[in-house]
Point group: C2
Chain length 467, copies 2
């Protein structure tokens, strides 16, 4: 069968594939750094050239820009010649997404080997971008190359790569919104998540959404001296503290009326699956969080609390005096940056409206509050009954030799929401990173065995979709 | 009588006195600005030369320094030859305090005339330092000159001027602590307060004390992603909000157990006097505070709330993300800068101990709190039965032709506390500024009629103390 030939090709060429990845990792494509604009473009060109070489068509860079600056380019490629099935039914089209930009590498002195001089140690490649997302993106390209080596692709494929994932991804969001017809597909593949544990094939089938907000509290017209006015003038920080303390109780329950009305509990199958995951709460507290205790709603597992329950966090409270020492000011205004994570079937619009109305209803005396939405994202849940997910489950099972587990993610991957909203397609989140891969941190790595298993899993998945 | 001769001298020389003040105001002695070190010293020299010229003795600059930098000099002068009374009782010694440094003048474009080019308009001199404190300090010097013109001084006098009042006054505090014997006196005079209303002779007979603190909240070991960990990791800002909301209720009552135990209510006389002051709460809210409502303990007057009741304010909450836009971080730590104003007979040590114990007792789950004292100051109350205050009351009454009112200040003047603690002497706070003199703000001014009345009041006061 063609897919076995493709898998053999991937095995035979694995060393070359790694060598190419190392070349890509040497390009410091740090999207947030204005000094690296040319390097980012070099990484885009590198990907485009390889997509052309392996047989993809209409390969091109798509320029992007935002209101404030010129953006980094998207890379597009397609191959849409999959022969229809015997019954005349066309083969599905798969949209393969990845990003070729990386986070900054600071603090540099914590790296054991330089971030842009990839080094292989103990079966891992260490470099900025190794797993997030160059290594995982390269799996996609190499899976396609392997399939091409065995004949025509089993499905239609579009590839879209972005160079701004680490700086907000505005460019691709606008492109999906405005040129969705150019990305028409039946399913998307994103490899930007992680495996729950080493050797455990994992599919992510849900992501929390969010609303990120600012509450601005204004009291006196100008900053006042706390000696002269303390006891008469409203203090916007005290007011914000009172508001925040009323937003969430000490058990982590959000107190906004109606906020939980649309919350869907995970299915019994999910609960069962999560309970079976290898997870030691005390180990997680000690090694991942490092706090004296964990917080959140009592009686719920960490998985449920971080994957399937709404939460509220405060990220910073700008305003007033933040220098060393003392300044006796009653600031005229203060801000709180507050985000709330949402879960299916909550919607950002309704949740924000509930939040805003509640915050305004508890506005302290003498204070004027303004509640602003900075950005939002929909919660996502992918049915595990979905054909595409089922095929992915089986593909990973066959490569890893273990049952595939289903997890959710607590954060959001905005592009997945964009694909649902604009393209009306589900996304298969098949990721091959490990929890200790140091994403966004020094000594980022990618386990090379997972790089190879990722390529094989994707080959098998695409073949299954075409069968 | 000698004092009438001195008053006449002051009247005859008033124009010259103002001219000298303008000269002093031209020196940009901004103590916080490293580029102005020489100007600050020039202002000190200017004062020292004049003190010498009028007949003061042992005039000298006293160098100061702190752990972090060389300080600006103190100016010292004395005249200790007042003849004892007929019964052989020595005349009292008066310590006259002022400061010759000024605040920065920014924002410069809001000044109608340049801050260091004094201009007289409508009977006011406009310049940085006009009222705070060069103009008021110069009243002291000119009162002494006027008395010298009429013969020997009626009392013994020491003058101490500082050049760091606007940057914390560490130098003079250290000098008072270490060389108190060189400042031995019976009473101090400070003219750095204001009159309650135009034409209303005012003595300040009480100041609030304070403890300025930081609460540091630590949760996770490092900053975490709020998507991945929200719902399990403690959030130090939420924790601080919960703590602050429990420190003070929505009526402004501080909830620290025992905190009000030592609070002395103002005397019936004080309440009566405050009720008689010309004060329109609505006007104060609108023009001074500018908030939609005033806050603080219900049923108490603004005077009582700001002068005679403890309060709590939050000045800033450093930590986390304070940039524009969104960052989904659960910060590992956050700070709150919290100060509490104290009133007689509270003590900073006991109040801080109560506060710290209470904050620690309400520490939220998963959080470690550290409560630090940044600095503190004692509350001050000067008995109005005091001979020195009585004499000041009468002196001002006779100059202004109106009953002198007693007020307190909500803030603290640390040097007054130093004089009480280190020198064991009371301070007469006889200030001639007006509420709209724009201290620390653009278009600072001093009403020249008050400059002249201040000189006469001080002449009469010193004469009365010597009688």
């Amino acid at each position: 069968m063609a897919e076995m030939k493709a898998v053999q090709f991937a095995k035979d060429n694995g060393t070359r594939f790694v060598g190419e990845l190392l070349e890509l990792l040497r390009i410091p494509s740090i999207s947030t750094d204005p000094a690296r604009v040319e390097d980012v473009r070099r990484a885009a060109d590198f990907c485009a050239e390889e997509l052309t070489r392996i047989g993809m068509e209409k390969v091109r860079l798509i320029e992007t820009s935002t209101a404030t600056r010129k953006g980094h380019p998207l890379v597009y490629a397609e191959w849409l010649h999959a022969a229809p099935a015997a019954d005349g039914k066309p083969k599905p089209t798969v949209l393969m997404y990845g990003h070729y930009d990386v986070q900054p590498a600071e603090p540099l002195d914590e790296w054991k080997s330089p971030p842009f001089e990839p080094e292989i140690r103990d079966g891992n490649v260490y470099a900025r971008g190794a797993v997030d997302d160059k290594g995982q993106m390269w799996m996609h390209v190499k899976a396609l190359e392997s399939l091409f080596s065995a004949g025509p692709l089993p499905v239609n494929v579009r590839v879209i790569l972005e160079g701004e994932e680490e700086v907000g991804g505005e460019g691709i969001a606008a492109f999906v919104r405005e040129h969705g017809d150019e990305l028409k597909a039946d399913v998307a593949l994103v490899s930007d998540t992680e495996m729950f544990a080493p050797e455990l094939p994992t599919l992510c089938v849900g992501l929390r959404g969010m609303i990120y907000t600012e509450i601005e509290a204004r009291g006196a017209r100008t900053d006042l001296h706390s000696g002269m006015y303390g006891g008469a003038a409203p203090n916007p920080f005290v007011a914000l503290a009172q508001v925040i303390a009323k937003l969430k109780d000490e058990d982590g329950k959000i107190l906004i009326p109606g906020f939980y009305d649309k919350v869907q509990a995970p299915t019994a199958d999910e609960f069962k699956a999560w309970a079976a995951l290898p997870f030691d709460e005390e180990h997680y507290r000690e090694t991942e969080v490092g706090s004296t205790e964990l917080t959140g709603e009592p009686g719920l597992s960490v998985m449920e609390r971080t994957w399937a329950r709404p939460t509220l966090d405060v990220h910073g409270m700008p305003g007033g005096f933040i220098g060393a020492g003392a300044k006796t000011v009653i600031p005229a205004k203060a801000l709180a940056k507050v985000s709330l994570r949402l879960v299916p079937d909550m919607t950002p619009a309704e949740s924000f409206a509930q939040y805003k109305a509640y915050v305004e209803s508890i506005c302290p005396k003498g204070i004027q509050l303004e509640v602003r939405l900075i950005h939002s994202g929909d919660p996502i849940v992918v049915s595990t009954d979905n054909t595409f997910v089922k095929a992915a489950t089986e593909a990973m099972h066959s490569v890893f030799g273990k049952e595939t587990v289903f997890v959710r993610g607590g954060g959001s991957i905005p592009i997945v929401g964009d694909f649902v909203r604009e393209l009306k397609i589900p996304t298969v989140m098949m990721g091959f990173g490990l929890p200790d891969d140091n994403l966004h941190a020094p000594n980022e790595k990618f386990h090379l065995a997972n790089f190879h298993r990722g390529i094989e899993s994707i080959v098998l998945w695409l073949a299954a979709l075409g069968a």
